[in-house]
Amino acid sequence: MKGSNIGEFEELVLLCIASLGEEAYSVSICDELLRVTGRESKLGVVHSVLNRLNEKGMVKSHLGEPTQERGGRRKRFFEVTHAGKVALLKVKEQRERLWQSIPPLIFEGIKI
């Protein structure tokens, strides 16, 4: 399938969206990323990724209600599309297959 390959960062973002459920918008996605990966990403970067994912058809978005904290501006909420879910599962499956073919001995004794 064309364009079904997603990069590492894109995958992370997609996963974040999926985990956030209803509350997935650019600021919360950023925070989730920070929480999970410890990486502080700039809003612009995340937004750019979201744009790319949108173009690839992996996410779709809708505008929400204007809120006071945002000076009356509306938020854009994202959710993962079917194609996105498929892509994520594919990646997961590929990774697992690779993991299974690695002898556990290699990773013995390593702590993170």
């Binding site: 650019s26 950023c30 700039k42 809003l43 612009g44």
Partner: protein
């Protein structure tokens, strides 16, 4: 506590917000702004405000990514339809506001016409002498003469041996070309006599310059001493339409020079040549008759050198030539030489005291170019003023357009398109007007001007002017008009910023200042010219006719003189030359007891005359007497003017003292009172007067007051009876004198025209403005009237502002014009004492008067308008 501190509003740095809003894509704008704001508030909780601000900036900058930047370049797919709409609206507007459009177009057309005519003139001057194919190799040889006070004078006259030496001894020089001074003379073929202009030349004249030969062999000019070449026009005049078969080989007689055989026929000299000759006879003949030209110390001709190729440095050639020149001179103050590109001589003919080019006709070219620019600016100012003043009328249209979604850019382009359209219309009208005025302009400028439709440069210029004018005039109003905020417009709240109003006032002041400058200038120049023409010259040039002393006239002079004096209309006859009012001939071969070495190169003007010269010209003697009549020519006596005596610093009474003139001793018998022997640009120069009526060159005939036509008739009949084969050709001396100031008169005339045009345009602008102001204030006036205001006070209300502006302009113009004119008058050695007060008074008065006239009609009309009608407009 202040409200600000009690409810602190946390906003991100404004510049960053504005920047973001500027570059971010429209559809992303809202969400991005919101996201960033949320983040910012978050940061403000956790960190200091400065850190939060920095972080905000950080985030904004990181949104500078390709996907987020809006599309600045929007090629509208509907460009064609947009422009059609713009055009339609423009024409509709032009039609709706006919008066205003007329004022605009008229003003622009008038100044564009003036600009076009000026540019035609400038172009013609610029192209002079540039048509020669060898122009890169042609250089005029000029002579530098050291004078008192470490100064160098530059003269065009050079000694003939120097030209020869240049060709023979310098390898860089291919050949020399002889240039004589063109003179008018009577040419005779059998019985046919006519007058033509020409001089001597060598064959190189035609080989180096681009004057094509139509028939014959031009080399004969060098080989045969009686060879002559004539122009096609002259050939036609002498031989008729079949000149091609008849002319060559025939002999013609030039009255003062002898018989010549026609060896070649050349094409008429082109218009753009500063030299104009119908005949050119062999230089050899001239040399034969004037042996003194072979002397290194005499400079009786001008010369041009043709260098071998265009890469040779002319200054080096000049230095080498100077060495040769100086080796043939004696004494300390040796003359040098310099080379100037031939085509440059026309425009850059003046040199300063250090022999460097300092100007010449180029100054007039620059003056006129500047004037053209000035006129263009004045009318663009008009356009801008009127457009911005009337901006409020277009406000609704702008508001609606913006609401529907027009971007500022598209509005700007709409208004610029309008400006361009008006400009194009004006340009077309100006072209038509120029074409119609061409004959008149040619007459005034004494050139034959024509519009060269076929050259690329013509169309480029028109295009350029259209673009510049359109942009200049349209840019500011376009921006002002497109900046209206729809909300204000639709609410009806169109408040003009003070800044715009002051700008407009400034423009009006500038316009009137320029116009006033021109008026003052015109008046001053006219004063100076009148002064020059009426000033006491010390010599009487009125009622004086001059006739060239043809050889036949000299022969029969005694009879002619007698018959002329018999005529009651003729008061006196004398012989003198060349021109007492201009004295072109001079010599430095004068020596006196106390002559100092630094005076070695002082030139004394020479006048050959008859004994009754001072009587006919009414010049009193300061001392001694003039020559006695009856002597053929005198080589033992001499008369000087006062200035000459001053320079010589003779001890005691100059009368009776002996000095050296032309290498021989002469006794001073008289001193003539000083009279102006050059233009008013120069001081009176020392002059010597010799008795030599046969070589005088001109016959002067003084007629009685008011009987000039009778005198002319008498002259004609004397000629007819005594020398029937010599055509009579006479001039008026005061007319010749006026010719000396041709350029000043041209400047004066043009300044007059400019002043008129600029005042007309300024008044047009003023008229438009007052119209508009009156319209705006209709209701206010109506109310005032109801409350009891008199007509007078209402008129004052309307006019007051404008009169104030004109007064300010007047006050600015006075010191400026004084400065400029003072500088201009400096070039004259004798200046009129300008009655400054009178001039300023006239200028100021006329400006105010014109303003009042322009304003009065409309303001009176408005003031007397019935208030019922104006208030009914609700």
């Amino acid at each position: 506590m202040r409200i600000k501190d009690r409810y602190p509003i946390k906003t991100p740095p404004r510049t960053a917000e504005k920047f973001l809003a500027w570059f971010i894509r429209e559809d992303l704008k809202e969400e991005v702004q919101g996201d960033l704001l949320e983040k910012y508030l978050d940061h403000r909780e956790k960190y200091s405000s400065r850190k939060a601000n920095l972080l905000y900036w950080y985030q904004v900058l990181h949104y500078l990514r390709p996907f987020a930047i809006r599309n600045f370049y929007l090629p509208s797919p509907n460009l064609y339809y947009m422009f059609k709409n713009y055009l339609k609206i423009t024409f509709r507007n032009l039609n709706k506001q006919r008066l205003h459009s007329l004022i605009n177009i008229l003003g622009l057309s008038i100044s564009l016409t003036a600009v076009f005519l000026l540019l035609l003139w400038v172009n013609d001057e610029w192209q002079m002498d540039k048509f020669h194919t060898n122009s890169e190799r042609l250089y005029r040889l000029k002579r530098t003469i050291p004078m008192a006070g470490n100064t160098l004078d530059v003269y065009r006259g050079v000694p003939f041996p120097l030209l020869q030496a240049a060709q023979e001894e310098l390898p860089e020089v291919e050949k020399y070309i002889t240039l004589g001074h063109s003179f008018d003379d009577n040419l005779q073929l059998d019985d046919h006599i006519l007058r033509a202009r020409g001089t001597f030349a060598n064959a190189a004249y035609f080989q180096a310059f681009s004057f094509p030969i139509l028939q014959g062999d031009i080399n004969q000019l060098d080989k045969k001493i009686d060879a002559i070449a004539i122009s096609e026009k002259l050939a036609r005049q002498l031989f008729g339409e079949s000149w091609k078969t008849l002319a060559l080989g025939k002999t013609i007689h030039i009255h003062d020079n002898g018989d010549f055989t026609i060896e070649a026929i050349f094409a008429d000299f082109p218009r753009r040549s500063s030299m104009r000759n119908d005949f050119l006879y062999s230089f050899q003949a001239h040399l034969r008759d004037n042996e003194w030209m072979q002397d290194w110390g005499n400079s009786g001709m001008q010369g041009v050198l043709l260098l071998q190729d265009e890469h040779i440095d002319p200054d080096l050639v000049a230095i080498n030539l100077e060495k040769i020149f100086m080796s043939h001179q004696e004494g300390d103050q040796k003359e040098g030489c310099l080379l100037q590109k031939f085509e440059d001589d026309y425009l850059f003919g003046d040199f300063n005291k250090k022999a460097e080019v300092s100007g010449g006709r180029i100054e007039y070219v620059r003056l006129f170019l500047g004037a053209a620019l000035l006129l263009l600016i004045i009318s663009c100012i008009n356009f801008v003023n009127l457009a911005t003043a009337r901006a409020s009328k277009r406000a609704k249209e702008v508001g609606v357009r913006k609401t529907i979604g027009a971007s500022k850019n598209s509005l700007v382009s709409q208004f610029i398109t309008e400006a361009f359209l008006i400009t194009i219309i004006s340009v077309l009208m100006a072209l038509i007007a120029t074409r119609l005025l061409l004959p008149a302009a040619s007459l005034i400028s004494e050139k034959s001007l024509s519009i060269e439709y076929t050259t690329a440069s013509f169309w480029f210029t028109i295009l350029g002017i259209t673009l510049i004018t359109g942009l200049l005039a349209g840019a500011y109003p376009a921006f002002v008009l497109s900046s209206f905020r729809p909300i204000n417009v639709l609410k009806g709240k169109i408040i003009e910023k003070t800044r715009d109003i002051s700008f407009r006032k400034g423009l009006v002041i500038m316009q009137f200042t320029l116009s006033l400058l021109l008026i003052v200038g015109a008046l001053a120049i006219r004063s100076q010219i009148k002064y020059i023409q009426q000033a006491h010259l010390g010599i009487n040039k009125d009622n004086l006719l001059v006739v060239h002393q043809d050889a036949k006239v000299t022969e029969k002079f005694a009879v002619i003189e007698q018959k002329l004096l018999d005529n009651p209309a003729i008061k006196g006859v004398t012989l003198a030359g060349p021109s007492p009012l201009d004295m072109p001939a001079s010599t430095s071969a004068v020596s006196w007891p106390k002559k100092r070495p630094d005076q070695a190169n002082i030139e004394f003007c020479i006048l050959w005359s008859a004994a009754n010269f001072p009587d006919v010209f009414e010049i009193p003697m300061a001392a001694g007497r003039y020559y006695h009549g009856g002597e053929k020519s005198d080589t033992t006596q001499i008369v000087f003017n006062e200035r000459a005596i001053e320079i010589m610093e003779l001890e005691g009474d100059p009368i009776g003292q002996t000095i050296q003139w032309w290498g021989k001793p002469r006794q001073i018998i008289g001193v003539l009172q000083d009279f102006h022997n050059h233009s008013f640009y120069e001081k009176i120069e020392p002059a010597g007067f010799v008795l030599d009526p046969e070589n005088a060159g001109n016959v002067y005939i003084k007629s009685a007051d008011g009987q000039v036509p009778d005198a002319i008739a008498g002259l004609q009949s004397v000629f007819n009876s005594v020398i029937p084969d010599v055509p009579l050709h006479y001039d008026f001396v005061d007319e010749q004198y006026r010719q000396l100031y041709k350029s000043e008169m041209l400047t004066g005339k043009l300044t007059n025209y400019f002043a008129i045009i600029s005042i007309v345009i300024s008044c047009l602008g003023l008229f438009g403005l007052i119209n508009f102001v009156a319209e705006q204030k209709t209701r206010e006036i109506g109310i005032r009237k109801v409350l009891g205001a008199s007509t007078g006070s209402l008129v004052t209300l309307l006019s007051r502002d404008f009169i104030r502006l004109v007064s300010i302009a007047f006050m600015v113009a006075i010191p400026l014009s004084y400065l400029f004119l003072d500088k201009w008058l400096e070039r004259f050695a004798y200046q009129v004492n300008l009655n400054w007060w009178l001039i300023f008074a006239i200028a100021g008065f006329s400006a105010i008067a014109l303003t009042l006239i322009t304003i009065s009609f409309k303001s009176i009309q408005t003031a007397t308008h019935s208030p019922v009608d104006s208030l009914r407009m609700e």
